[in-house]
Symmetry: D2
Subunit: 353 residues, 4 copies
Amino acid sequence: MAKIPVGVLGATGTVGQRFVQLLAVHPWFEVVAVTGSERTVGRPYREGVNWVIGGSVPDTVADLIVQPTEPTLEIGGTPPVVFSALPTADARELEPVFAAAGYAVVTNASAYRMMDNVPLLIPEINPDHTGLIAAQQAANNWPGFIVASPNCSTTSAILPMKVFQDAFGLEAAIIITLQALSGAGYPGVSSMDILDNVVPYIGGEDVKLENEPKKLLGAFQNGALAMADMRISAQANRVPVLDGHLASVSVKLGQPATAEEAIAALQNWQPPQICRELPTSPQNLLVYRPEPDRPQPRLDRDTSDGLAWTVGKVRACHVMDIRYMAITHNTLRGAASGSILNAELLAVQGYIR
Amino acid sequence: MAKIPVGVLGATGTVGQRFVQLLAVHPWFEVVAVTGSERTVGRPYREGVNWVIGGSVPDTVADLIVQPTEPTLEIGGTPPVVFSALPTADARELEPVFAAAGYAVVTNASAYRMMDNVPLLIPEINPDHTGLIAAQQAANNWPGFIVASPNCSTTSAILPMKVFQDAFGLEAAIIITLQALSGAGYPGVSSMDILDNVVPYIGGEDVKLENEPKKLLGAFQNGALAMADMRISAQANRVPVLDGHLASVSVKLGQPATAEEAIAALQNWQPPQICRELPTSPQNLLVYRPEPDRPQPRLDRDTSDGLAWTVGKVRACHVMDIRYMAITHNTLRGAASGSILNAELLAVQGYIR
Amino acid sequence: MAKIPVGVLGATGTVGQRFVQLLAVHPWFEVVAVTGSERTVGRPYREGVNWVIGGSVPDTVADLIVQPTEPTLEIGGTPPVVFSALPTADARELEPVFAAAGYAVVTNASAYRMMDNVPLLIPEINPDHTGLIAAQQAANNWPGFIVASPNCSTTSAILPMKVFQDAFGLEAAIIITLQALSGAGYPGVSSMDILDNVVPYIGGEDVKLENEPKKLLGAFQNGALAMADMRISAQANRVPVLDGHLASVSVKLGQPATAEEAIAALQNWQPPQICRELPTSPQNLLVYRPEPDRPQPRLDRDTSDGLAWTVGKVRACHVMDIRYMAITHNTLRGAASGSILNAELLAVQGYIR
Amino acid sequence: MAKIPVGVLGATGTVGQRFVQLLAVHPWFEVVAVTGSERTVGRPYREGVNWVIGGSVPDTVADLIVQPTEPTLEIGGTPPVVFSALPTADARELEPVFAAAGYAVVTNASAYRMMDNVPLLIPEINPDHTGLIAAQQAANNWPGFIVASPNCSTTSAILPMKVFQDAFGLEAAIIITLQALSGAGYPGVSSMDILDNVVPYIGGEDVKLENEPKKLLGAFQNGALAMADMRISAQANRVPVLDGHLASVSVKLGQPATAEEAIAALQNWQPPQICRELPTSPQNLLVYRPEPDRPQPRLDRDTSDGLAWTVGKVRACHVMDIRYMAITHNTLRGAASGSILNAELLAVQGYIR
């Protein structure tokens, strides 16, 4: 079967590199175009990129000529698909331009996550939200569309919230994150700031953590999205860890549950049927660890090739109802792989081909 | 004025070393006796100790002969005073023996913190709790007594809780700590476990964090202690930081308060009058930092020579009422210096001389 | 083809765990017996081991009952083969006992590395040194024998020394190592000692670095080994890196060479023909990196599944002749995998079957 | 006695901040002018600076208005004195302009370190090299002059080299450094590059390490400098340490010496008499540590307030003659404090007042 051709916008940054690396071995997609900043345009990708993510530039992409980020990319496909790894400001300006020009924009950027009718997607959580695409196209008069993946910190906390919402209802959450350095890109956090230290601040992150779950956990009904009705308070911290965002969460449930019931809910939960068709969705999606000292970033971030949620410390909360800790790999599940999963969902649902 | 002679029990461990270091330059106290394990008994302290805390063995203590930890220490003083840096199991066995033999035991160990009538003390928070000593002596038929300082993690979170309790009432708290390596002693945490990692577990710590504040914030009335009536949920994490415990806390207040009111309460709060007489109690006890990225362990742990609470990120909590972050130096304010402050309080109140 | 059955002595320690992990997927060998300390004897391996090396206990070994380290192990094979991951003192006592009882002891321990007629082996460097086995058996009247792999720090520096010895002659070397934490086992180095620090001392390591290369680079002639005639000065340092030993080496050659000639020698060097038959010997054995900032432990330690030498910074030395830096993965190439390679060599040469 | 007024060029960078911090409490000097980049000119220093070095902006400097780096600064003094913390390119352009305009430029920048007749100074090592100032002024027709302090990596290795040169003669040195993050300024090294890693490259550092010692150890004779005749080979590495450069050095001596003789030379060496008059030169300048695991960056960098050399591991080298390890605090002895010492020397020698 022929692969679906795709482009990568902002392919020379760290998230872009991760897209290129993962797509180079993807069973369904094939990178045929890459875009980059003015400095790199016109050069072979191999030369334009400062490859920092480990391994080496995939051969299949190395000789592509970096193009400007303009909606004149010749990609093929129906509609033509672009993964966006653009910086926020560029994403804000350019993603609508691509959607208006008929491209399917599968973005990892934050610019349009909370925009009306843009699906904020994790296929294992809310695959039906792609139903918003029709309304998005109608409202904006776009032949193309935008779908977004959530912030990497939101991702780390969200799956158990979904499970508990399904099982017991979910009214409130206090989320404290311990986030990895790679979440800030490269060069990102100065070593002078973080060695022998913790920084209790990541610009904009608390707001994302407090809003995005309400959209992800919202209900798609009658062609529109009803945000989940819950209160969230979040505090993001940077810790000296290379990869893996750890979230410590206390939740107030709609109906009471014991720790045992919460654990059972986690262990019994199954992702939507459609996820079995997505090649990147792992068999072990939610790994519950009973040990008192798990999850840990270094030990658990690579579970299921960085695509699982590892969850532990599920206990009664003496103030709210239940508390837990969860970890995901922030540059895989929480970024590039997450967007690739979104594209796989779009393919299965027939939005792209 | 002659100094009060004191002994240090368990003087060769890391907490014991810190006692020795701090007491060597103390204006009121003078170390005249040190005890240690069987391996070190009979040797000069200089030789028995494996000094790991930086600097060097104080000259005034270096030649003291390490004695066994038995209540036959000749110290002088009325009553004779011993600081206890004993491991928990030893403390459980030996501290009552010393109290029964007439010694004032000023302990940093956890064994008797929650025992009836043992004051769990931070002079700036509950200096009146020493009133429990009489009941303790009566109940146990001890001529001596025990006073305890709280766990270093409790310490990091507690002062703003006290301020808010005074100002608004305090009904509940969710406490997440990011704790330093030195809290585990030496050799403590293996480098293989913590480099590029976070460990979400410290044995026994959550329970201490959930109980000790209720005693510290309790009311001494009619010769007895009424524990504070509040719910606390705690999650302790170990992070790769050398010193300084950081606490992220959300609180439910007795009456609502805005962030501005909470900040004003912190800025206006004054420790009890008696603290002005304690040489170790710093002038800048509660340092409020308005910057969004403070407090940080490395930048703030040494404030006021490691004796201050640095507090920041005071904000409305969307789930409870107010949240904040606070840091203290875990081996100074949270351990040795805390116990020394307790002894200073006992001296001012006339319990020791 | 039936696999060769093997035992692992000291299988519950960190090196033993690595043996078990690697042998569980080995094409030629199969673990049929494991030994451990008194505490673990009689229990299933799964229960006796505190598995700390990542991943999980292989199913094929999990249910083996831990046996005492005595030469009554029933292994099968001709002769029966044991991999030794024993602590030094145990190795010193027990390895000769096993050799005397007819076992082939393939050891990673240091006890007999420098003993007369014990081959100190890296198959890609000195496969002919197994010729010493006959003399070893004769001298000790052993039906079995011992072969040893070198210290992990020696390993990191040695391959370019071999290349330069072959190409130009080698008269002297100054070796400075920057060694990883995992080299000290578990719990090994205290986090309190190494965070934000370097420790310029690893007990016994300098002597090993100064002696083992002379044996590895010695000549097997007429049934005996002539140690290489060279002077070596070594300084081992511990750095806060999880895995990967980095060596900075200056060498004095037998005949002068430019940096270009040295690089060419590295690039043209081929391991002995027999290594092509060893399944663990990687195709890319010696990776030369021309970038000025390579090799780096985190980026290069996993090259060729942790079995390669990555070499860079090959330059003229203004004091000696040539200098370079090299890295190997200390727990793979430098320990367990190195010994497994030795066993593969023994199998190809017919010493075990 | 009135203080000597001074200016600080490039006062808003990290080295500039350190100058400001140290000079604020200096007994002889007083900062009366600060310069900065275009962005900061015209603003109070307190506002223009992003203070990152710990503590807070000294009150005495906080309200100075940042001026452009032009030789119209009104400072007073004879000649007017400026400390230069300029980036290299700016230093290359501007320092001669200041010297030509009559200023005494005491620089920490590298631009003119190796220029003919510019003294490269460490007062405890070569105070007589200020004799070059006359030739410098004559050759360039400058009423002012430039004196420079060496690179922080050179500084870490140099004092034992001087001692051995004095005692035995010095013919060659191989220097391997393990350098701290703060040497790269702020933000400097990305945390993504250095956590769990070592980077064997610091741009330009090897060349500085190979040249500067020859000038520092050269002889001032007949109004000119004869560079020391020695061969040096250097390899600079970056390690995840906040402060403190560690050097591992092997030296070839003019006449043989045992380790004991080398240690005795270190212990008996006295700095030049004039250093007793310099308030920043510490009483304990060269601290010899006999322990096998010293010096260590974290434990030894603050010795004598960061102004000492701590030296250990003095042993016979099997390849050259003697080897040792030494550490200095790179931002104090190796940078700002070093330049302040140079100014103190100039004051005592009458070059400034």
